[in-house]
Structures are given as structure tokens and as C-alpha cells.
């Protein structure tokens, strides 16, 4: 279920809800940090009230090729994500991180040649990309495309209404939707005129990233896959974006986050760090893995 169900009224979103979230988040990140344990991921759940954490995503021996050339990129990826966990994938350029993210959301450039993906108990591979999205899977693109001729607000409105249809709720007209989306702009510290511009057209690198997070804020997600939301951002922008993510997602949501740098992890605390190499996850550990990487580079963990 999407978290940002549209039944929230405007008021509750801007005042009480966000306060609750901020508070909830600091708890959450602290908890997450304290419970890193590769072999016992369930320990974090016990801190939160005892119930076993629900399995959200299970990737088994996933291999994929580029659809055109049949060139293998993913060569047996294994990953399990429970509700509320924050997973970070790191790895050298070209190791397959973005490909993994895009395969998860059903990008047509890739063909799955082996293994399985289960999301909320369903076979994800059988789902259309738009079904995956409305089922709460959200990916922020490393390089989002521009769509000339389609205004940002119309695009968001279409996407939001698709989500509402799925939930059996009435769609929002442009004026109602504007009321819903305007406060979210503040959340990502985005200028209002970007709503009336065409989707990503002429947006700076930082504006594109913020726009991705704005979409996350509008649509909500059970599993947010964030592909390098920190690249190309200045220090302040990085803080804005990370803060926004923390406010948008509650402790029940899960994150799969791709990054090259430790600094993002200071804002969004990971449960696990995975290292991807040549289409596989070759190592999993806690934040110290990222710290070693930052200090000594990939040779240190080879």
C-alpha cells in the first residue's frame, strides 16, 4: 500500500504529519544503525515492537542481458529486503548497479535470463512496469529523461491519478491536485515555477534530482530505489534531498540506495551495505564497509 494515501488532507500533511515523521525518522535511523547484523536482519524488528519484519523483496540468482545485444550485465544477484530496512549498493562504475535498479522496475532495455524476483509475495517479472509502480515500487533515475511538451504538473497529476485509481479512489482534477502538490515543493525546496515547466526540460542536474524526490513525495513508495540521488548535488542540496527522503518515508518503508559516497549515508543510515562487482553482489556488511571504501578504495575490500 502506498503510504501517501490521498485521503490525507492538506493540513495534516504540512503540519502534524511531517512533524511526526521527522521525529519518527530520527528514531528509525538510530535504530537502523544500531542493529546492523548481516546474519540477523530481524533484530531491528524486535526493537520496534517484536513482530517479525515482513519480507518485501527477494531477488534470487538474477541474471539479465541487454535486450539488443544479449550482452550479459547481471550475473546472479541475490538480495533480500525486509520492511523498514535501508540497503545501500556500492560498486565501481559499470559494475551493474543502475542496471539492477532498472531491471527491478521493468526497463525494456534488459531481458531477464535467469533467477527470480519476488515482491510482496508476487512474481515481479510478470508485472508490467506501471503495475510495479502502482504496487509501491519507486525508482528515482540516475539520469531522468526530459519530456518536452508535457508539463511537470500534468505528468505528476497523471501519475498520482493512476495511483488513486489503483486504490479505488476518485481522481483529482488539476486544481485540487495543485493544492495537494504545492506543499510538497517546500519539502524538496523546489521552486514553484518548475511545476509549469516541461518535465525535466532544461532542468539543472540538481533540479532533476529534486524533481525525482518530489515525485517520490507525491506518489509515496513501499520500496524506494534511489539511484545516485547524491551525484551532482552541492552540499546544501544534498542535505535538502536527504532530509526530504527521511521525511517522506516512514520506518515501515524500505530503501534501496545506490551511491558512491559515504556522505549520503550520514543522512540516510543504512542497515546493510552491498558491494556489486561485475554483475554480482560480492560482499555485504555494515556502514564500516563504506568507511573502508571511502578511505582506501575498492582494492581494500577486494
Amino acid at each position: 500500500m502506498a503510504l501517501f494515501t490521498p485521503t490525507f488532507s492538506l493540513k495534516s500533511l504540512t503540519s502534524t504529519t511531517s512533524q511526526r515523521r521527522r521525529f519518527g525518522h530520527s528514531n528509525w535511523s538510530f535504530t537502523a544503525r544500531a542493529t546492523v547484523a548481516v546474519d540477523a536482519p530481524s533484530s531491528s524488528a524486535s526493537d520496534r515492537g517484536g513482530a517479525a519484519p515482513k519480507l518485501l523483496l527477494e531477488v534470487k540468482d538474477l541474471s539479465a542481458v541487454i535486450a539488443d545485444s544479449k550482452q550479459p550485465i547481471l550475473k546472479g544477484v541475490n538480495l533480500t529486503v525486509h520492511e523498514g530496512e535501508v540497503h545501500t549498493v556500492m560498486g565501481k562504475n559499470g559494475s551493474g548497479k543502475s542496471t539492477f535498479a532498472k531491471v527491478l522496475v521493468g526497463h525494456p532495455d534488459y531481458e531477464i535470463t535467469g533467477g527470480s524476483i519476488t515482491y510482496k509475495g508476487q512474481d515481479l517479472v510478470q508485472m508490467e512496469p506501471e503495475e510495479r509502480a502502482t504496487a509501491g515500487l519507486f525508482m528515482s533515475f540516475q539520469s531522468p529523461v526530459a519530456i518536452p511538451g508535457v508539463s511537470n504538473i500534468d505528468f505528476l497529476n497523471m501519475a498520482y491519478n493512476a495511483r488513486r485509481r489503483k486504490l479505488g479512489l476518485p481522481e483529482l482534477g488539476p486544481i485540487e491536485f495543485y493544492g495537494y502538490v504545492a506543499p510538497k515543493l517546500e519539502l524538496v525546496n523546489m521552486k514553484i515555477d518548475l511545476l509549469n515547466r516541461n518535465v525535466n526540460e532544461g532542468f539543472s542536474g540538481g533540479e532533476r534530482k529534486r524533481n525525482e524526490i518530489l515525485q517520490l513525495a507525491v506518489l509515496g513508495a513501499d520500496l524506494a530505489i534511489l539511484d545516485e540521488i547524491d551525484s551532482g548535488l552541492d552540499v546544501d542540496a544534498l542535505r535538502d534531498v536527504a532530509k526530504a527522503v527521511n521525511r517522506i518515508l516512514t520506518p515501515k518503508n524500505s530503501i534501496l540506495m545506490i551511491t558512491h559516497y559515504l556522505r549520503l549515508l550520514e543522512f540516510i543510515k543504512p542497515t546493510y551495505i552491498h558491494i556489486m562487482e561485475n554483475g554480482r553482489i560480492v560482499k555485504t556488511g555494515d556502514i564500516s564497509l563504506a568507511e573502508t571504501l571511502e578511505r582506501e578504495g575498492y582494492k581494500a575490500i577486494a
Binding site: P108, P129, I147, M158, A159, K166, Q215
Partner: protein, 494 residues
Amino acid sequence: MATTNSMSISTLNSYYLPKSRTPPPRRSAYKPPRTTTTTVFAQPPTLAILSDPHVLRLAETLEDSIAASSSAASPPLPLQKLRDISSQSLLSTPWPSRKDELFRFTDTSFIKNSEIQPIPPSEMQSIASLSILGDTVFPNLAIVDGYLVDSLSNSSGLPNGVFVGPLSRLNSEDIMKRVSKYVSSFQGDLFWSLNGVGAPDVIVVYVPEGCKVENPLHLRLFSFNGSDKDSKTLPISNPRVLVLVEKGGEIGIVEEYSGGEGNDKCYWTNSVMEIVIGDGAKVSHSYVQSQSLGAAHVKWTSVRQESTSVYELIEVSTGGKLSRHNVHVQQVGPDTVTELSTFHLSIGDQLQDLHSKLVLDHPRGVSRQLHKCIVAHSLGQAVFDGNVQVNRDAQQTDAGQLTRSLLLEPRATVNVKPNLQIIADDVKCSHGAAISDLEENQLFYFQARGIDLQSARRALIFSFAAEVVQCFPDASVQKKVESLIRKLLDPALP
């Protein structure tokens, strides 16, 4: 030319065409005598060698229909002049073939192989009461099958000195003089001349010096008579409009073609509009063509721009089995501005053709042309021939042309021929042509946000058209065209 006197096609026909009747009677017995035509030949015109029998027969049919329907009074001089010039030129104009450069990609055999039937004016009475045209808030003229229908028109509220109406009702000698000067000052192709022979009258839109007409004038052209698909006959109408805007004047024209419930009615609209824009004057021309998918729609727009004048054309064409728009803009003074924004949509087994020609002969002209088309049917075709001539004296011209085509079906066809001919050396010219399908990455971006593929495609197609649709200066026209395109793209929508 072989003769200096006015002549008619039929007389020549009877001399030079292999007919079953025995020559040389000038007029066959069943034809009513004509009052307006004198035919004197000093010698047999040699140009008749180039005559195309098919063209002459068609011209004769049109002439006969005009003769039969017009009143005893002789037509106003400019109209007579138009008919004469047109008749003359038809004598040496063959039916275009695919070998003609201008018709290389445009197959006109659909018209050629049909029996062409002129529509008599009497049939207009019956529809006078029908509310086929919908509402308009603007001063407007209803032109049904090429004839002005007064009861459906309302041209009140126009400023003093503005004349809007048929040439035959023009009382001002001064305006008549001006009109005389410009009627058929340009020579088009076969279809142009056929219109000149077949037009029952000329609708004149005259804007005097310095007069800025606030509301756009809405010309509502409707095709009422149509034949069935398999009948092989095409009722023809020949509307003709002359827009004359004097120095410093301004007007907006909304020219809208429709006709035919359902989409298989067959008819042929063969229309001409001439526009003369004086010094510093401005014409904003909106053109919307959504005729029946069984129709032939051939249209000429010829524009003459004097110094510092502005002409803008915004066109959306979606109708017709065969639709061709010829736009010819001639610059006759410096510092003119010309903006052409056009969008063609081929949603079925149809051809959408734009042939534009911009001739720049004077310094510092600015021209901007954007042509977009979508072919969304495997039997659909779009043609664009965009010629821009920047001649020797047109220094410091700034000419830009851009064309983009979207092919949405495997065998959909587009023939694009942008051509810039630049003789002046100090000019800024740019052009670009792109043909593509919808971008996979863009489609996926929609899907990744939960929007299904079909809605995503529709949004992208719609946005492709929007770049042109947004140029319509009048919001109500914009809205109307938007919903027209929406409906065509998704017939399931209300």
C-alpha cells in the same frame, strides 16, 4: 498567349478536343447561350497543343455550372478578370502527374478518376435552417459548399470601413479598385485555376488603413453535399476569399473547414485564399481542416507581404482522404516577419500534404517555420515540401525552418523535402528535419510512475501536437482543436 480577348474553355474544347460531336460548332445545342463570353480567334491558338483534354472537360463543366447559376447581370469586373485569367491558364495546364516535382509524392488520381459534379446554389436553401455549424462568438461568415449563406452568417460588430462580404455586393468604388489590383495577381497551379473558373463569387475581407479589428473573423466553411464512398463522384465546391489589409491595419482570420457526419462522405473542396498585407499591417491566420476522411481537400493560401508587415499562420489539418495545402508567401518589401506553424495528422488511410514556399527578395526579413506531422496508420502518408528562397537582395535575412515527423505505425510513410535556396550572402538560416517514433525512454518514464503505456503514448502524441496548437492566438480555437485531436487519438473518449 494566343488571344487577347476573354475566352471560354468550351469553345476551345470544341475545336481541339477529340469529341464524338462533329466540329466545329462553338457551342453544342444543349448548352444555354452565354452572355458574358465573347470568343474571337485571330488564329488557332498553338498552345492548345499542350492542353489536357481531361482538364478542359473539367473546366468546361465548372464554367457551365457558373453560367447556369449566375444571374443575368454581368459579374463584377475583378471576378470576370479572374475567370478569364484562370480559363487562359487552364488551356496550357495538364493534370499533374507524379513526374512533376511538385506532385512527386502526391497522388491526385483519386480526384482525377472521380466524376466531378459542381454543386448548384439552389441546394443551399434547404440547409439554411440547419444548425450544422455550431456556435461562434465572433463575427462570422458561413460558407456552405462554396456559397455564402447569409442566414447563418453574422458580420455585425466589425469596425467602420471594414467590408466583409461577396464581391458582387461590394458598392465602394475605391475598394473595388483595390480589389481589382490584387485579384489573381498570383499564379498557382491547376487547382488554383480551376478554383478561379469555378468560384461563384469572391468573398472579400477588406480592412482599411490603420484599422485594428479586435475580434477575429471566423470563416466557417462547411461541405454539405457529399456522395457515397463507392459512387465515384465528387461534388465540388470552389470557395475563394481575398483578404486585403491596408497600411497599419490588423485582423485575425479563423478559417475552419468541416463537413460530413461520419467519415466516409466524399466531396472535393477546392479552396483559395489570397492575402495582401500592406505596410506595417498584420494578419494572424488560423486554419483548421477537419473534413471527412473520404474527401479531397485542396487549398491555396497565397500571401503578399509589404514592408514591416507580419503574417502568422497556425494550421492544424486532420481531415480529408487527400489533403493538400499550398502556402505561398511573397515578400514585396523589407523587414517583414513571417511565422508558419503547422501540424498535420494522418490517423487513417489518408494523405496530408503541405507545400510551402517563402520568397524573400528584400533585406532583413525574419521567417520562422515549424512543421510537425504524425502518421498513425499503416496506409497513412504525410508530405512536406518546404521551400525557402533567400534571393540576392534579401541581405540580413533570418530564416529558420524545422520539421518533425512522428511515424507511429510500421508502414506509415512520410516524404519530407525541406529546401533552402540561399543566394544572398549575409544571412542567418537554419533548418532541421527529424523523423522518429515515440521515445522508448520517455514512454518508460511514464510507466515507471504508474501510467499505462496507452495513456503514455497518448500524452506524448498530444504533446507533440501541442507545440503547434498552443500557437493559436484565440483560446476557444485552441480548446476546440485540442478536443478534436484528443477525439481522433482516442475515439473512445466522449
